[in-house]
Symmetry: C2
DNA sequence: GACTTTTAAATGTCAGACAAATAAAAATTC
DNA sequence: GAATTTTTATTTGTCTGACATTTAAAAGTC
């Protein structure tokens, strides 16, 4: 673990990268304790605040955790799926909001990925996951639900569908795609009739999963995608030309 | 933007979260300049090193960039797709290596996601992307190629396939899945015969894309997946029982 | 031996200072 | 008056040294 003393700018970034490389290469293993801040500052020949800035960078990526007190210090984190989800979702949400990604593009990506899970989910979904989906559908049919709550329930339902595939890597990858769509979805105003149509499709998906009918799940997702995109188009239309 | 002065621990984390929230909510917009470190430390009633640690956390997530000098400071970053790729890949790679994800699980996820792109890619792939794939296939058939170089070329080919879908959100989501697999793939020793088989399948994929034959792309990907998994099983078998 | 107290080590935070970069303002020159 | 150079002010990057707080282990006490 060495840094280049010739490049004077951004010492803390260099140190962070050096430690990061050591973790990725396996030189530092999970739960191993890093040298103390004082020792690191000695090793890299920089002051403690500089070392601290480097460590905070790594903490922001959940690569390390710190513990105070005697025999405390910085420890290499086991990056859990749960922990990676939130990072993934934050990044995806920002990406969509900052790059003026069209609703269509995001929608297409989301349903394409979701359909990739469908066959696996039809095969492996547990009774528990099916029950979660039914419960969310029931919630969606409650009158007086706000549009935000409706969308949140929609996300929960789709996450259950994704988790049904029983593949944590898939769940992780899709968490970003599904959750990041929510702010875009929230911009749609759902009429009573459109909610009814969506709930009907959700029920079809749940039914198909219950029957382990992969083809029908896929077909219904296609239908749901085109319906969602039509809804968004209507919203855009109304904004351009409010009747 | 406020922080809770009652929770004494991790002031820098609280400040980072406050600024992060302001960015996500749109209170701070792209390219907007944050107050100077001195002003922030005044505003949050903490010292400048503490503010700096918070800013370094945000810089680690590419949420801000800093510039020295007069009229310098911290600016809200536009999170580009390119910038998000590398984060996504780092996280995915660590996730796989730290959680003992089985080759089968990762492989299943990767091919499921890739097959989700296939129909779009068959429809929209450009001549350029097809040429990239052909070039990678040609490279793969060069004798004397190391296993690592073979895998790297494999990744490049599959990224071209994914990019063919012409959906940046899909490309972003899949970058992690495809690239993170590479270290696992590198553990496979490719015999001359297995390379030949893979190249044949790659050629089939390229041919099918040229014909815009979505069904054939999908079928070939299924074949490639099962072949890859068989290869990995053989490697595992040989390690357990070296003949 | 079990409990309490002390101690040492480590992170968290602060204050003040200087260096380096950089853009704007001021001065100089033609 | 315009172009160039110099100065200056602002802001981040880094350092030194200090104190507070937390925590586990060691020492002491009953």
């Amino acid at each position: 673990m060495k840094i280049d003393p010739k490049k004077p700018a951004d010492l803390s970034a260099q140190i962070a990268q050096a430690i990061r490389d050591a973790i990725i290469s396996g030189e530092l293993i999970v739960d191993e304790r890093l040298p103390s801040e004082a020792e690191l500052s000695e090793q890299f020949q920089v002051s403690r605040p500089t070392v601290r800035e480097a460590l905070k960078r790594l903490a922001a990526q959940s690569l390390i955790r710190t513990q105070r007190g005697a025999s405390g210090g910085a420890f290499v984190n086991r990056l859990s799926f749960e922990g990676a989800y939130s990072q993934q979702i934050t990044t995806s949400t920002l990406l969509l909001s900052m790059n003026a990604v069209s609703f269509d593009t995001a929608c297409e990506a989301r349903f394409a990925l979701e359909r990739a899970c469908a066959p696996l989910s039809a095969q492996r979904r547990t009774a528990d996951q099916l029950a979660t989906m039914r419960a969310e559908i029931h919630r969606q049919s409650q009158p007086g639900l706000t549009d935000e709550a409706f969308c949140a329930s929609d996300v929960a339902l789709h996450r259950a569908l994704v988790d049904g595939a029983g593949n944590p890597v898939l769940s992780y990858q899709l968490a970003g795609a599904v959750e990041a769509m929510q702010p875009l979805m929230n911009m749609i105003t759902f009429t009573a009739r459109s909610r009814e149509a969506i709930i009907a499709l959700h029920n079809q998906i749940a039914d198909a999963l219950e029957d382990r009918d992969s083809t029908k799940v896929d077909a219904t997702l296609v239908e749901l995608e085109s319906y969602t995109r039509r809804l968004a188009q209507d919203v855009a239309q109304q904004r351009r030309n409010p009747a």
